[in-house]
């Protein structure tokens, strides 16, 4: 009867999670804080083209740290990883399918587009009152 667990792809013992000690957690925490600082710093530069991409890359890195170490996915081989990766894959599918539509649709089929970029070029800094449109004539 000892082989009853044989079919289970992964027979973890609870203590099976490696104890990499609390030290690793602190390291991850410091890395997360550092990355937050980084994204805060780059975010304020408002890099025109790849600002969003950069912010998302940093966010993904942070998320990966949380998932792999705080949530122990690093040690949990097998099905939990598959589950998580599948989930992310399906999120991306949903994103691509929908964005694929909006980005390739006929101009006339999109809602009224906003004013040209020039009009909004003088973006205020955080917390400032906007430079235009605040007072109606």
């Amino acid at each position: 009867m000892a082989d009853i667990t044989k079919n289970v792809t992964d027979s973890h013992h609870p203590a099976d999670l490696e104890h990499h000690g609390a030290g690793a957690y602190y390291l991850v925490w410091i890395a997360l804080l550092a990355l937050t600082g980084l994204t805060w710093w780059t975010g304020q530069m408002h890099l025109p083209n790849f600002g969003l991409a950069l912010a998302l890359i940093i966010a993904t890195t942070k998320a990966a740290l949380v998932v792999l170490f705080f949530m122990h996915l690093w040690e949990q081989k097998g099905v939990n990883r598959v589950t998580f990766v599948c989930t992310i894959a399906f999120v991306i599918v949903m994103l691509l399918g929908t964005l694929g539509d909006v980005t390739t649709r006929l101009e006339t089929l999109l809602p009224k587009r906003e004013a040209p970029a020039s009009e909004l070029s003088h973006m205020p800094k955080h917390g400032e009152a906007p430079a235009h449109g605040a007072q109606h004539p």
């Binding site: 006929l106 006339t108 089929l109 109606h136």
Partner: protein
């Protein structure tokens, strides 16, 4: 002849556009190959069923697993067929979505529960669309409230009318006659009665009709008295004037006409609305209040809005003010507003 037989066998309506022929040809191809394949599958099943019927209760049977060849066949055959259907179908779809450069434009607006048609140079019409045969027609379809769908079975053409934007589809009618427009997207209580007619004319006949219609529309607009016109299909010059003056004076920068809140109260249903003022009083937005607000806007500010409106005293004369009031009065959700379809409010793709 063969095609006619298929057509009546499948209860298909008349083919009255060039697109209809394309759709039907693919339809026949799909139907015929389906029939052949399902006949084969059915016959195979029947033969197996007879050959291998149960002869003794607890018979044992060999385990049979497919070899690679069978697997490839099972995957390959449907893939090839389905992709072929898709390739043809998508080619035709792209075709019907790409209007030729010389297409004639018609604006179509769906509204609970009627269709409005307008030509760039006029005229406007409700529930009857006149088009010439043998000339590509591009429909620019929009909706005023919910999603509708413009559908003419004989043309095999269908396109959803999405509020706030223009969808386009084109077709070329081949047979003069009258065809029914149906709304195919559920749009509420009278969805099934939202019908219109397409009248397909011979090209020469159509040109004549168009010239006539444009002339009579101009005539109507110039000569009719405002009050008399209000009872007609297009309610009055005063109202139209009002709209134009309001646009010129910049009212729409702050006042929406569709009920959405903006910097100022919406014009929609404003007339005779009970407004709560910032100082706690209430007021009925009748003619005098609206006029007064244009002249001295800060006197009675509606609660929830900032006193930011400029005074138009001296900028609008009395008839202009009256026209705007008349225009606001016409913006009521409770009455059907008959107006022609507006042209595209967004810049159209270069064709």
């Amino acid at each position: 002849m063969k095609v006619d037989a298929m057509q009546s066998l499948l209860f298909l309506p008349e083919q009255a556009s060039t697109f209809a022929e394309r759709v039907d040809n693919l339809h026949y191809l799909v139907i015929i190959s389906t029939m052949i394949v399902s006949f084969l599958v059915g016959t195979t099943a029947l033969v197996f069923f007879i050959l291998y019927r149960r002869r003794k209760p607890h018979a044992y049977t060999p385990t049979i697993e497919p070899d690679l060849k069978a697997e490839m066949l099972f995957v390959g055959i449907p893939t090839v067929f389905f992709l072929a259907f898709f390739a043809i179908g998508f080619r035709d779809f792209v075709w019907v979505r790409t209007p030729p450069a010389n297409a004639m434009d018609v604006y179509v607006m769906g509204k609970q529960w009627m269709w409005k048609f307008a030509y760039p140079e006029g005229p406007n019409g409700v529930n009857t669309l006149h088009i010439p045969a043998h000339r590509p027609i591009r429909l620019l379809i929009t909706s005023r409230d919910v999603i509708h769908s413009f559908y003419v079975p004989e043309f095999r053409v269908k396109q959803d009318a999405v509020p706030g934007r223009y969808a386009e589809i084109w077709f070329e009618a081949t047979k003069p006659g009258t065809y029914q427009v149906l709304c195919a997207e559920y749009c509420g209580l009278d969805h099934s009665m939202m019908r219109a007619d397409v009248v397909v004319h011979e090209p020469a006949e159509f040109d004549e009709w168009l010239a006539n219609a444009q002339r009579s529309e101009r005539h109507e607009q110039q000569d009719s008295e405002p009050i008399a016109a209000a009872t007609q299909q297009f309610p009055g010059n005063l109202r139209l004037q009002g709209e134009r003056i309001a646009a010129r004076a910049g009212c729409f920068k702050c006042h929406s006409t569709d009920g959405s809140p903006h910097i100022g109260p919406t014009f929609l249903d404003m007339y005779l609305r009970k407004e709560k003022l910032a100082d706690g009083r209430t007021v009925i937005a009748d003619e005098s209040y609206i006029t007064e607000s244009m002249m001295d806007p800060h006197l009675k500010v509606v609660a929830g809005f900032q006193p930011v409106m400029p005074s138009f005293l001296g900028q609008l004369d009395a008839p202009e003010t009256a026209a705007i009031v008349e225009y606001i009065k016409s913006l009521s959700t409770n009455r059907v507003v008959n107006e022609g379809s507006k042209g595209p409010v967004y810049e159209l793709r270069n064709r």
